[in-house]
Subunit: 438 residues, 2 copies
């Protein structure tokens, strides 16, 4: 029984996939909050690298070449293994075949490096010297810190305050790579000061940290903002996950009936899902796509589809998204990467068009799933990824009831070795569920 499916360097994808080109209904454009006009590449280039801005609005090209220096860096850690989770299958007693794409073996511990590398590369190419960003649990911040170092850029990270306290080692990791790290909301930006003035105990959220990072980028010479999720160009870079998985599933002689990933802004979900979804669009395949979000931050299952800001302070263009409102303050769950009020533009359109579905999961169920996965597969998953595992277990149990031998593929977006405080709380019985408080 083969457990792992690998790819040689020669088999690695050399292009990313851009689902925007194939979508039956294109995403609605981001619009400028003052003029209400669609924003263009020039507008976005004030904030992002120009190449990222171009990719963001590109609804023409389904395939985008991975720049050689980025591909070169990918080859240090990619292709990541596709693993058949025999241990988990046995423990559940399911006839389903469960596969996971193991992004937890990436250096820095998650899929985030897949987009950090190209974003830093494009910045470097365009003469940028400094990058900044937000981070929740810190997976994206850690990845960006390393990618910035690789391409010779300075890096400043705003980390959500509550996540910084829950996972102190992640800021240590970023500092080890030479980055500056600040807890958000902070007193170092106008946006941060405003939030602290209104609510001195604000725990921070991805929304507050994005505001601060954008403010830093737009007020610092030669500095660009980078984002680890939500945006279309991030989903393009992350498509490397699904493109590899497609080749690896073929080696396993199977094709997924269900593809599952956790959902914060959509980067790892889009990464694994979109390359398979193109076969639904173009060839009428019937694969199901499930995005697993936290019960307390349920934009997919309980959010509203409308134009909203991507950040708390309202610095970003208005984006057409499923949202809980840009001022929504999520509960302090340990899955810091999923504490975001809105869904990315592409995913929002796909959800609206019924091409995927969302499921929201209580925190305790995610840790129960994570512990079972750890004990059967040997990998302690990130609290974010634990949402995908919990959704997978639900699906596999359904198969156990119906006898269906479905092929389930989920993305293990990262490991949880920096999140052991959360596991301690779970083992000690101190972890609780948080209902949606919106």
């Amino acid at each position: 029984m083969q457990k792992r499916f690998l790819l040689d360097e020669s088999e690695m994808p050399t292009q990313w996939y851009n689902i925007q080109a194939d979508m039956p209904n294109k995403p609605m454009p981001p619009i400028h909050p003052a003029t209400k006009e669609p924003v263009g590449v020039d507008d976005l280039s004030h904030i992002f690298a120009r190449e990222c801005a171009k990719q963001e609005l590109d609804t023409e090209h389904a395939w985008i070449d991975i720049p050689a220096p980025v591909l070169d860096m990918y080859k240090y850690y990619r292709a990541t293994p596709l693993v058949r989770a025999y241990g988990l299958e046995q423990a559940i007693g399911t006839p389903a075949h469960i596969y996971f794409k193991n992004e937890s073996v990436n250096p820095l511990g998650s899929h985030k490096l897949n987009s950090a590398l190209p974003q830093c590369y494009y910045c470097k190419q365009e003469g940028v010297t400094n990058v900044t960003t937000e981070t929740g649990a810190g997976q994206w911040g850690a990845a960006l810190s390393y990618a910035a170092k690789v391409f010779g850029l300075e890096c400043a990270v705003y980390q959500v305050k509550v996540s910084m306290q829950q996972k102190p080692y992640r800021s240590s990791i970023m500092r080890t790579f030479g980055a500056t790290v600040e807890g958000s909301p902070s007193m170092s930006t106008r946006a941060g000061k405003d939030i602290i003035t209104r609510d001195p105990n604000h725990p921070g959220s991805l929304g507050t940290a994005i505001s601060e990072a954008i403010e830093l980028a737009t007020t610092t010479p030669n500095c660009k903002y980078t984002l680890g999720s939500v945006l279309n160009h991030v989903a393009i870079h992350q498509s490397i996950i699904g493109l590899e998985a497609e080749k690896q599933m073929a080696k396993a002689g199977e094709y997924p009936d269900v593809v599952i990933a956790c959902f914060g802004g959509g980067s790892n979900f889009g990464g694994i899902a979109f390359p398979f979804m193109r076969h639904n669009i173009l060839e009428g395949k019937q694969t199901q796509f499930i995005a697993a979000e936290p019960e307390c931050c349920p934009k997919l299952t309980r959010g509203e589809f409308r134009y909203d800001f991507g950040d708390s302070a309202g610095y970003t263009p208005l984006l057409p998204m499923f949202t809980l409102g840009h001022e929504f303050k999520p509960a302090n769950i340990h899955a810091g990467g999923l504490r975001y009020h809105g869904a990315g533009v592409i995913v929002s359109q796909l959800l609206k068009d019924g091409m995927m579905s969302g499921v929201d999961i209580p925190q305790l169920e995610t840790f129960e799933a994570a512990t079972l996965f750890a004990r059967t597969e040997g990998i302690i998953p990130a609290p974010e990824s634990a949402h995908a595992i919990a959704a997978t277990i639900r699906e596999a149990k359904r198969c156990a009831e119906t006898g269906e031998q479905k092929v389930i593929l989920f993305n293990l977006s990262g490991h949880g070795l920096i999140d052991m405080q959360a596991y301690d709380q779970y083992i000690n019985g101190d972890l609780v569920n948080y209902a949606y408080n919106g």
Copy 2:
């Protein structure tokens, strides 16, 4: 430029290598402290699984079949990649070719699982229900906790007290896998009580924790002791590292002039070194083997070759080893896995015979090396592995001076994600060197 060299499942080694069969001078036997007679398999079987005891004393068979269920588990994470460290080479400006075997991508974060799996498998086969062990930094304890779960055994771990405080997350990991964890010296054994009585603030060492675990094993029905290093059967299991590396180096079209690993008891050193050393023994190759130990715990460079106990309390047989004395109390460096007073029996004989050498390295140099490696290769190494990196950098710098294009292979035994407190101290300038206080 190919960066990673992988193996398919079909290319994986199916046997371990036992260097004892090929050594020109066989290791001297362990002897019973009371009778002064060599101990045999029956004696050792009181403590260890019988199959491990047999392997321990086997000087006949160079090749030992890996049991199918162990090989099956190996296939979840092996072969680990061999990586060419172009980034590090560039940063040093060396003509040397640097390769590392990346055991940090193992589940549980280090090479320790390679021996935890067979030890638990043999115990299970022999009807054992409980296993116990010692652990320093916790890499071995974490690996054993998971392996015990895989084969349905209960697991109790004595973790060195100072390491438990320095790396609290490692005990969380063990508990997540369902193990019981106790800080050593503890009040739960006679050995622990004796040590605490003499020295209430004793920080613990691998020697104290071994005593406690052996006491538990020998006073608990159906319980066996397991060890993560030092012993011959552990080096046999770890030979999987070097056997894979040999095939992978061949794919890279090179053969190592120098093989380097960090050194605590010898498990990862033996693992990567012995399969290459056999070509020195059998075919006259001239590869150099360097074991990197901490400046403050220098048994290879400053220890004495004599019979000594493997643990603090004197429960083990007497072993012929380079030792600093079994009551030696190592300084509180962060490389907890290297805080051990003696070298394994095989390594001690090889060192005596001039077939390898030791080098001792100050703590600050190891963290400087670790940080450079992290920033160039993206992986934060374990403080133990940082010793191998520091020794590699010394060697690569020598090559930069002489112009020699040596091929250097080192073993990255594990990642340091649970050791970020140490990196924090290093970044903040709070880390210090400890001279040898023996």
